[in-house]
Amino acid sequence: MSAFRQIVSVTAMNLRSVPQRVGSSSVIVVGIAGVVAVILSVFGLTRSLQDAVLATGSPDRAIVLRAGATGELSSTLLVDAVATIKDAPGIARVDGKPAATADFVAAVNLLRKEDGRRAGMVVRGVDAAVMAVRPELKIVAGRPFTPGLREVLVGRSALQEFQGVAIGDEVALREGRWRIVGVFESGGDANESSLIADAATLLSAYQRTAVNSVTVRLESDAAFDTFKAALTTNPTLSVSVERETEFYRRQSEEANQIFGLVGIAVGVFMGLGAIFAALNTMYSAVSARTREIATLRAIGFGAGGVVVSVLVEALLLSLIGAAIGAAIAWLMFNGNSVTLGDSVSSMVFKMRVDPALLGTGVLLACAVGFIGGLFPALRAARVPVATALRAV
């Protein structure tokens, strides 16, 4: 009998005997299901947050902040600087006007639907040209705000998460109440968790003259260098220019670091635990099969078939576990909307457990199954035939 056929027949015989060991086999399945479910949820959360933040940025847009500012809130640009920035070369033009918006960022506390607590939400004042800068921004209900009137648009995510921001409702910002006149969506990005209003109207209500940032749409990706050079070499300006993608990547870094670390710490511990559980299962599987293995060896089967049969059993059980774990993570978390925030504002995003992540989970399960099967398999290969048979 060829070595290959030996391996196949021993493995098949072994798999048929798994149902007799269902109790101990389920340990490996449950252990790995737990690991995969937890890891997929933690990393699904991190990835979804990152995706939502990154989706806000586009490589053909650039954001201008005061030099040295780390984010929009710590940046201020005065009116004359804004005019200079909007005149810079490299900005796309729509109907002869530069596609640029000077944004003023404020925040307002509103009640969350879920627990009735107050949480912050960004209120962004934008120029009329915002639609030319952000074509992904679409009004899906109601109408645009009228500059000069106290009117705001609410993002779809914000509308889902907060009370009192439906069309027709009024929110208390500075200087009175502002009416919600429309709902916008922008592909589930960070902006969707905010209110937007006319910058000039908002600035006058807040008695400010300076905006926080200027965002422009470039003629092309390549125009970034021209645009940046024009602004950073201008002696009257003291600004930093970044591609929007880079800006949002930097903004999401801190949260990613924290969640990534938590995910890794939890993952390492659970992975170790699952490896121990898998080892336990497979050692007892081997020990239950001692007679069978010794008999096979005595009638001339090689060690290879026995080793492979143990490894295949471990891997198959791990895959079943991975499938269950992935199903749990998917059913519990996929499509959930999650709110994360700090004292100033919060962000709502949809949690996704995507196929790439599922693939990682399966790989991880295989790795655990392999390690958990390897040592017991080696022991199985070394079963001393004579002693094992004497025990019959």
Binding site: S24, G68, V108, A119, I258, L261, G273, G341
Partner: protein, 383 residues
């Protein structure tokens, strides 16, 4: 106690299995300690926060300033013992990413309102003498190596100076400590008067007011009275006790508690499975041995006791090891994610050990029942 060697021998009958099960339980409880320790420590911080101190911020958002003129009106509210205020400075040292938590305060009223802060009266005097003086918190001083007499040039990512100068130069004239650990000492405090005079915008406003009251049971009522004073004005307020404020703050970080509990539940379920299975197997294999014990005159309850004791010993030792590991590594992990200074609370240790004992009993219950019911003749005959 005299049965200990017997229990010990039973446990080590299959060495590999016991060690692996032990490691599983160790890992599970290390994770339990880390996660639960974190939420419990946050809970502990909330409990230790004062509810005889109220915190007032703008109702619109914390980024909105409140006029300094509110102070006199707040002081008129019955039950209010003292008022102080605070303005965020958003300071950084050398470069913007190197931020230094800095607050502009009125040192005298602040000191009066925060009795848990240890501040030498001579430092208060020094602050009043030195306009650009600064008080450094113990932790901040240790972190940066700053000491009294040092000149510290800071930048602010929000505030510009009226005189057009680039940075703000402060001179450290004193330090403060918090012996109880209830107030973080990672901030630099500067004189509000000096700061307010020098800044270009928002003069005469503050970020927060702090109010001292003596009757914690009246905190909700006084908060409402204060908010009512400014209702429908251009600067409406939101007043909360420090405790409520922190609780809301933590809720705002997101649905952390749900995630933590879901993970712990998953881990514990898997654990129950693993230990339960080990105990089942171990008892099944030892049926003839248990029958021999019964033949020698061990009663039913003694045999059940042996099985339970084995399980208890395994689980509790492993849980203690796991929680020990989490206690050893948690401070550094928490520091890494930016919530330094948290130690594993004792309550978590106690809950963990209790949980371990419960697991041991649940997972040994079925095998123990089996051991109790076993009939000597059948077991010895291998039936």
């Amino acid at each position: 106690m005299k049965y200990l060697p017997l229990i010990w021998a039973g446990l080590w009958r299959k060495r590999a299995r016991t060690v692996l099960t032990l490691l599983c339980v160790v890992v599970a409880f290390a994770l339990f300690g880390l996660l639960n320790g974190f939420t419990a420590a946050l809970g502990g911080i909330i409990d230790s926060m004062s509810d005889t101190r109220l915190r007032i911020m703008s109702r619109v958002n914390i980024t909105q300033p409140l006029p300094l003129a509110h102070r006199a009106r707040i002081e008129t509210v019955p039950g209010v013992d003292g008022v102080s205020y605070y303005n965020f400075f958003a300071g950084y040292y050398q470069e913007p990413r190197n931020s230094v938590q800095t607050g502009a305060i009125d040192v005298e009223t602040f000191d009066a309102i925060y009795p848990e802060i240890e501040l030498d009266p001579s430092y208060v005097e020094a602050m009043k003498r030195t306009r650009n003086g600064a008080l450094v918190g113990e932790d901040l001083a240790a972190e940066r190596g700053w000491k009294i007499g040092d000149k510290v040039p800071l930048g602010s990512s929000i505030w510009r100076r009226k005189d057009g100068a680039e940075g703000w130069d402060f001179e450290i004239v004193g330090s403060y400590r918090s012996p109880s650990g209830r107030v973080p000492t990672s901030e630099l405090w500067i004189n509000y008067d000096y700061f307010d005079e020098a800044r270009q915008a928002a003069n005469g406003t503050v970020t927060l007011y702090f109010v001292k009251i003596h009757d914690s049971s009246r905190s909700a009522e006084i908060s409402e009275q204060i908010d009512a004073l400014f209702a429908n004005s251009t600067s409406e307020t939101q007043t909360q006790s420090e405790k409520d404020w922190l609780r809301a703050q933590i809720a705002q970080i997101g649905d952390i508690g749900f995630f933590v509990n879901a993970i712990i539940a998953a881990v514990m379920f898997a654990l129950l499975f693993v230990t339960g299975n080990t105990m089942m197997q171990s008892v099944r294999e030892r049926i003839p041995e248990l029958a021999v014990l019964k033949t020698y005159g061990f009663g039913n309850s003694a045999v059940v006791g042996l099985v339970l004791a084995e399980s208890l010993l395994l689980c509790c030792v492993a849980a203690a090891l796991g929680i020990g590991i989490s206690a050893a590594i948690s401070p550094s992990i928490y520091r890494e994610i930016g919530v330094g200074g948290i130690n594993l609370p004792w309550s978590v240790v106690a809950v963990g050990l209790g949980l371990a004992a419960a697991f041991a009993i649940v997972s040994a219950a079925l095998p123990a029942l089996r051991a109790q019911r076993l009939s000597i003749v059948d077991a010895l005959a291998g039936r």
